[in-house]
């Protein structure tokens, strides 16, 4: 990688030089009269600079990839090829400068190519995500039976080997925490959105809306700390211990409650959009018949907005399932299949963090399991998102 830096810098310098050379050459070709040129000198300059820099840069990326795949260091041959490409590009475009050259079209072709490359990064990211996890997940299933992973009821990694790595207790914890979070966030978020869009005066709206948006801007680590130092001890001292539910500050309830707070703005802003998409004519129709505002909301607006709201809840669920910091700090680390919400349980994300941050052999199933967990998480959340976005989109189209 390092050995490619020098040729790359040289190419960059060449591109800059080419830019000015092309500019002066274009002027010379035109005999000092810019009007004689089909394309402006600047366009020639840009074309030369791009012709010089883009092919070598692409080559560097390819070489780097090749070098990694073949486990070798890029050698002097690579550098030579890169320099050759740059010099050729520069020379060809300089020679090509004539009065009738359509340099603008060429330059714009290069730019369009770069734009397309930039758009493809999103695709490459997805491919990267899928392959990085798929590859290690296969490694994992080579060492550990997939049936045990998906159906075993115990999770007890043992770094001397012979671990039980069943995902079910983790999924249970994940779903339990998410369920409590949604139980808290959906009614509050929905009612807040309804109140703000249908009832609140401008004064309350100008205070409450930003306040709820602030909740959305707070990083999850802050919520995690809040769960750890405030909500957890509070729930333990005032609910769990007096009522005999347990002595743990980290619990499904702690994480669920705090995650619920985090999701309130998410649910309310999505619901707000969706409720506002219901045409005013629909409300007028109901109010004009003598329905009260709440009857209008419950019997006309909400049923009309229902698909959108369901979509919003699914998106919130996917958020909850993938959330990490709150559960790392609030839910606990013990994998447990229990119904008691005041007990510490653990989630898929917590275990991904703990399996990948420990000092363990990277090839052991105890580490590799994190990739299988990650892939499972990715598939679940992706499924929820695709489904939810589909519903929401269908819903929007209905009123457009």
């Amino acid at each position: 990688m390092q050995s490619l830096t020098t040729p790359l810098l040289l190419i960059f310098a060449l591109a800059v030089i080419g830019y000015f050379l092309a500019k002066s050459r274009a002027l010379k070709v035109a005999g000092g009269d810019v009007r004689a040129l089909v394309s402006l000198p600047n366009q020639h300059a840009l074309n030369t600079a791009l012709s010089t820099a883009v092919p070598p840069a692409a080559a560097v990326l390819l070489f780097a990839l090749y070098a990694r795949l073949s486990e070798g260091e890029p050698n002097w041959l690579f550098s030579l090829v890169i320099l050759g490409l740059g010099v050729t590009g520069c020379a060809l475009s300089l020679i090509g400068i004539k009065t009738e050259t359509r340099a603008r079209t060429y330059a714009e072709r290069w730019i369009l190519g770069l734009l397309i490359f930039a758009s493809s990064i999103a695709i490459m990211t997805t491919v990267g995500i899928v392959f990085s996890m798929l590859f290690e997940t296969f490694n994992f299933f080579g060492q550990y039976d997939w049936r045990d992973f998906f159906f075993s009821l115990t999770w007890s990694p043992n770094f001397r080997g012979d671990s039980d790595l069943g995902i079910i207790p983790l999924l249970w914890g994940t779903l339990y925490v998410s369920f409590i979070a949604l139980l808290f966030a959906v009614p509050i978020g929905l009612f807040a959105a309804i109140y703000l869009s249908e009832y609140a005066g401008p004064r309350l709206r100008s205070v409450a809306k930003p306040a709820i948006e602030v909740l959305a801007g707070i990083p999850t680590i802050v919520y995690g700390l809040f769960a750890l130092i405030t909500v957890g001890p509070l729930l333990r001292d005032y609910f769990a211990e007096p009522m005999g539910f347990g002595q743990s500050a980290s619990s499904v309830m702690t994480a669920g409650l705090v995650m619920g707070i985090m999701l309130i703005p998410f649910v309310s802003s999505l619901s707000d959009d969706i409720i506002n998409a219901v045409p005013q004519a629909m409300r007028d129709g109901s109010l004009g018949l003598g329905a009260t505002p709440s009857e209008t909301i419950r019997q006309v607006v909400i049923p009309a907005a229902l698909p959108g709201i369901v979509g919003a809840v699914l998106l919130a669920a996917s958020r909850a399932i993938g959330e990490t910091m709150i559960v790392v700090l609030g839910a606990g680390a013990a994998a447990r299949l229990s119904l008691n919400p005041f007990e510490a349980m653990t989630t898929v994300t917590v275990k991904i963090v703990s399996q990948l941050t420990g000092d363990t052999d990277f090839a052991s199933p105890e580490t590799l399991v994190a990739f299988a967990l990650g892939l499972t998480l990715f598939v679940i959340t992706l499924g929820l998102n695709v489904f939810a976005l589909y519903i929401v989109r269908k819903y929007r189209e209905q009123y457009e």
């Binding site: 004519a281 007028d284 109901s286 004009g288 018949l289 003598g290 329905a291 009260t292 019997q299 006309v300």
Partner: protein, 266 residues
């Protein structure tokens, strides 16, 4: 048509006054939308409000069932009475008022529910039916009155949004009359409809006169002439002229009315 209106007018003069408005002013924020309107609307009559766009005719219509309450910046002053009762009295519940004064809107706005549920919505919230059979009867009667029964009776469970534009508007009329109102306000009910559907709705309006006092806002002078017995001409928030329909159209008193009718303003 000409003859018919003459006869109707003779009938209507015998009616009581249903709605009376005195000194009504409406402000939308800084905009003075309605300026001192005085009008008396008869029972069992079709009254048309005409005038150029933005003249305040729809705004005034929305004052009669207090739909302007739903707009934050609207402020209504003056006195509007239905059967002698001030509808802006603090003791009046707009919900009860709107049950009495139904409204049909410019664009058909059926709820995303079945045809049956659209019509049954009003009776349900106002508790007009004691049981299912009662409700069925109300729905059927309303749909018949709205001349939609024959087209809709076999598809009562299908969504109201699946009907054609004209059918949707008649559904909205059926929905409005299902709550047994005494006054029916119609805000340009035909502006979104094609000529055939318009003719059907106009015919319907004429029949509704038997049971209600109908107030209709319309852009089309021909429509006003066809369906109404009384016509009010609004211009820039003022009620310029209010008289029998044929008088307005044949012998307007105010030059502004004359210009509008002859197409010089509008």
């Amino acid at each position: 048509m000409e003859d018919l209106t003459h006869v109707d007018r003779a009938m209507s003069t015998a009616q009581d006054i249903k709605i009376s408005a005195k000194g009504v002013q409406v402000h939308y924020g800084d905009n003075h939308a309605i300026k001192d309107v005085n009008v008396e609307i008869d029972d069992k009559t079709v009254t048309a409000f005409i005038g150029p766009s933005g003249c305040g005719k729809s705004t005034f219509l929305r004052c009669i069932n207090r739909m302007n309450d739903t707009i934050d910046v609207a402020r209504v002053t003056g006195d509007i009475r239905i059967d002698g009762e001030d509808i802006y009295d603090p003791k009046v519940d707009p919900v009860q008022l709107r049950a009495k004064v139904g409204m049909v809107f410019q664009k058909p706005n059926p709820f995303p529910k079945s045809i049956y549920d659209n019509v049954a919505y009003g009776p349900k919230i106002h508790g007009l039916a004691r049981n299912k059979a009662d409700l069925d009867e109300i729905v059927e009667k309303s749909l018949r009155k709205a001349a939609l029964w024959n087209e809709a009776k076999d598809r009562l469970a299908s969504p109201g949004t699946g009907l054609s534009g004209g059918q949707q508007q008649r559904l909205c009329i059926a929905r409005a009359i299902a709550t047994a109102p005494e006054v029916l306000l119609m805000d340009e009910p035909c502006s979104a409809l094609d000529p055939i559907a318009t003719a059907q709705v106009e015919e319907l309006i004429d029949e509704l006169r038997q049971s209600f006092s109908v107030v209709i806002v319309t852009h089309s002078m021909q429509q006003a002439a066809r369906v109404s017995q009384k016509t009010a001409f609004f211009h820039l928030g003022n009620l310029v002229e209010y008289d029998d329909t044929d008088k307005i159209f044949t012998n307007p008193q105010d030059p502004r009315t004359e210009s509008y009718i002859s197409g010089r303003i509008g």
